[in-house]
């Protein structure tokens, strides 16, 4: 129990902070913060698997998150029949061309020994394939994007429940991670960071501009929800009764019937949004707990010990007969898959997919701040990092405003500097993140809850 003391203390403080937001601001805000904290926690767990367990640096978090989001769209949106009949055949043909290309290249690679001729052959195969792809896809894409561009203009998805997308998102991200890992994992750490960062930018560019697939910057809105809608709840008798029961004391004080009805309606509206957020929170919490159990088990299994050995001394692990390359690839895929799940959860929570909003600052660097601050190599630390950093990210503006007012209270309200500072309140969050990261890295380089290794 003693060794978990600081974990418990840190988490209680975190929960207390969120409750304080609920009391002082509103429960709706507190619950949205909690939900995004939980999603961030899943992301940091993914990044922590890669960085904390294996020492692999992955600055492509944004790309995997976006792929998870794309999965949510492709799974849940109803298929657009018109678009399929307009250009579906071309897209399917392209799919087969790509498969044909891959197999023919593999065949050439296997059948012939390495020579200049083979290299030229492969290059010409790729060029022919690309030209063919272009010729086949172009009319199809044009037709698809012409189908009611204001509403659809894309192929749509499978029309399945959005919850499936959490798994599919994981698989999407894992697939990308397999390719990226094959390409980039041989690089030294800081090159790997740059390469993954740039590859994630390529992924975003594709999602942003391939309108037939994701509607691009036109966004997909109104995704199906796994939880009830507020408007339906407000008309459900049991829900209204529940709210009435909860607030019976407050309602009894009001005498006139009409007024009481008004107050009740307002309460029902508030409660419905809180209820929806609570549902989300419950679902996210389940995911976090399942992942936590799995990752904890993995960390303390022989496999986890092997990963640590590889992280701490690659050559020694290699000499002991561990396949470092294979294990690196595996852990890269696993971590990215977890991030993909988080991406799908995030789109499910928001109910919309906006490719334009994926920016490295928010989806890569912020996640890394969370991992470093929380404590790399420790799952409880990573989750706490997700909570603490996201909380600060949201509450930075009010805190900054308070501080500015405190320090400039002697200045008149019309003072130019004061006004300018108050105008730039939103940017103080970057300052806080940066200073927080620098302080933690300097004075507590292992994070708030450092990694603990028990040697028995």
């Amino acid at each position: 129990m003693r060794e978990y003391k600081n974990v418990i203390v840190a988490y209680s403080i975190m929960i207390l902070l969120i409750i304080l937001v609920g009391v002082f601001q509103s429960w709706g805000i507190a619950l949205s913060i909690l939900n995004l904290c939980l999603i961030s926690a899943v992301m940091t767990m993914g990044a922590n698997i890669q960085w904390g367990y294996a020492g692999l640096i992955n600055f492509g978090v944004m790309g995997y998150t976006a792929l998870g989001g794309l999965a949510a769209v492709l799974v849940s949106v109803a298929p657009v029949e018109e678009a399929w009949s307009a250009g579906g055949i071309n897209i399917i043909a392209c799919f087969f061309i790509i498969i044909g290309m891959i197999f023919s290249i593999r065949y050439v690679l296997k059948k012939f020994t390495k020579s200049k001729k083979r290299t030229y052959g492969i290059i010409s195969l790729i060029v022919i394939g690309l030209v063919l792809l272009r010729l086949v896809s172009e009319p199809g894409i044009e037709n698809i994007e012409a189908v009611d561009p204001a509403k659809t203009g894309f192929l749509g998805g499978l029309g399945m429940p959005i919850l499936f997308s959490w798994i599919v998102g994981g698989f999407f991200a894992a697939g990308l991670a397999y390719i990226v890992g094959k390409v980039a994992l041989g690089l030294r750490a800081d090159y790997l960071a740059i390469a993954t960062l740039l590859i994630s930018e390529i992924v975003i560019a594709v999602i942003k501009h391939e309108d037939w697939l994701s509607r691009g910057v036109k966004n997909v809105i109104g995704l199906k929800r796994p939880v009830p809608y507020e408007i339906d709840l407000q008309n459900t008798p049991w829900f209204i009764n529940l709210v009435e029961k909860f607030n019976s004391g407050k309602l009894k004080l009001i005498n006139s019937v009409a007024e009481r009805q008004d107050v009740l309606n307002q309460l029902v509206i508030d409660a419905s949004s809180v209820y929806v957020k609570l549902c989300f929170a419950g679902m996210f919490l389940i995911v976090v707990i399942i992942l936590l159990i799995i990752t904890q088990k993995a960390l303390y299994s022989p496999w986890g010990r092997m990963m640590r050995a590889i992280r701490d001394n690659e050559e020694a692990a290699n000499a002991m007969g561990k396949n470092v390359v294979k294990e690196h690839l595996l852990i890269f895929i696993l971590g990215s898959a977890v991030v993909g799940i988080a991406g799908a959860m995030m789109v499910t929570h928001d109910g919309l997919f906006t490719p334009g909003s994926y920016r490295p600052m928010r989806y890569t660097f912020l996640i890394w701040v969370m991992v470093i601050v929380g404590g790399s190599g420790n799952n409880f630390g990573a989750i706490l990092g997700g909570f603490a950093v996201w909380f600060l990210w949201i509450e930075a503006a009010p805190i900054a405003l308070f501080l500015i007012n405190l320090f400039t209270s002697h200045l008149p309200d019309t003072n130019a500097i004061k006004l300018h500072l108050i105008d730039s309140v939103p940017y103080f969050r970057f300052l806080m993140m940066g200073i927080g990261l620098l302080l933690i890295m300097r004075y507590r380089p292992k994070g708030i809850i450092p990694e603990k290794i028990n040697i028995k």
């Binding site: 640096i57 390409v183 980039a184 041989g186 690089l187 030294r188 750490a189 800081d190 090159y191 960071a193 740059i194 390469a195 960062l197 740039l198 590859i199 930018e201 390529i202 560019a205 594709v206 942003k208 501009h209 600052m361 660097f365 890394w368 701040v369 470093i372 500072l421 105008d423 730039s424 940017y427 103080f428 969050r429 970057f430 300052l431 993140m433 940066g434 200073i435 990261l437 620098l438 890295m441 300097r442 380089p445």
Partner: protein
């Protein structure tokens, strides 16, 4: 005649803009490569440091404009650059003292320094946004064009016009001067040689009496000069927006790695490789082919290899290909 028209077309839409953009990238890439070669970490704060320098230059430009100082046909920002450089160097030395020196003395692994540079990135970004705001700002004044399309058409009687913006010429000229001085400094002076020695083999350099503190300080000073000038040139040519500067870090990294990281000359050429590739691949060649091909063969599609949306993606793909097949970069840099 058609052939000349086609050439002018390419000059106007590809060669001149790519040369200017390439120069801006090249300066940034040399900055990245110097930090990487001598201080041994990938500096993720590159873009934001450039935007800090540019911000100071803009503030000075506004000040000079308000008191009525100007350079006539040239942009006022050129007088502001030296002052901005001083501020930038002070800022960089302060950051080095407060942040980086601790890890350097502890000999932390490069990854940790890269993480620290992310912290610096956040802080710098915040400072820039708090002081000047996140908005798009144009601070160019003076004569905009050296050669206008219509003038060119009148002069030569061609169908195609050639536009040369003064910012493009300024960019290219300043880059040539700056880079020549830099290479002269690195190759001919004692300090430059000691920097190269330090970059090549730290221990050996220390043994032969090179003062590491001096090397590090000179590196930051050069970095400050490069960051400010590169940033201001980009801002003059396009516009200043903190977010774009942050994003520019990515093609700059690509340029530095493509050229061979740790190798300033490679970084310089890498900038042009990236810029030309970006523009060549995303340019629509339809008009070009209508000029050079006979009428019967005229294309009806745009003949564009990739849509302009993928401009950035092109440079990153080049980087990935280079990393795959020639991880040391085109010009041998540090071995990965």
């Amino acid at each position: 005649m058609d052939f000349i028209n086609a050439i002018v077309l390419l000059l106007n839409y590809i060669f001149v803009p790519a040369l200017a953009y390439g120069s801006q990238l090249a300066i940034g890439a040399i900055f990245v490569t110097l930090i990487y070669g001598i201080l041994r970490f990938a500096n993720f704060a590159t873009g934001d440091m450039m935007s800090f320098g540019t911000m100071v230059a803009i503030l000075f430009t506004w000040y000079f404009q308000s008191i009525g100082i100007s350079l006539g046909v040239l942009p006022t920002a050129l007088i502001a650059i030296p002052f901005a450089i001083i501020f930038m160097i002070l800022y960089m030395l302060t950051i080095d003292k407060l942040v980086f020196s601790y890890y350097r003395i502890k000999k932390s692994p490069p990854v940790q320094l890269a993480m620290v540079s992310i912290g610096v990135m956040f802080v710098t970004q915040a400072i820039v946004r708090i002081i000047i705001g996140p908005f798009d700002r144009r601070f160019f004044d003076g004569e905009k064009f050296i050669l206008k399309a219509t003038e060119f058409k009148e002069m030569t009687g061609l169908n195609e016009g050639l536009t040369v913006k003064s910012t493009q010429v300024i960019t290219i000229l300043i880059t040539i001067i700056l880079v020549s001085i830099l290479f002269w400094f690195l190759n001919k002076t004692k300090t430059g040689k000691s920097m190269r020695a330090y970059s090549d083999n730290e221990d050996l350099a220390l043994l032969s009496g090179i003062d590491p503190k001096k090397v590090v300080m000179i590196t930051w000073i050069i970095a400050g000069i490069l960051a400010t000038i590169g940033g201001v040139l980009y801002g003059l040519d396009k516009s200043f927006k903190p977010f774009t500067y942050f994003n520019n870090m990515l093609p700059i990294f690509a340029a530095a790695i493509v050229g061979g990281i740790g190798n300033p000359f490679g970084a310089f050429l890498g900038g042009y490789v990236i810029a030309f590739a970006e523009i060549l691949i995303t340019y629509a060649y339809k008009k070009f082919f209508t000029y050079i091909l006979p009428e019967t063969l005229e294309p009806d599609s745009l003949i564009q290899l990739l849509s302009t949306d993928y401009k950035f993606a092109v440079s990153f793909s080049i980087l990935v290909i280079v990393l795959l097949f020639r991880p040391t970069g085109i010009f041998k840099g540090r071995v990965l």
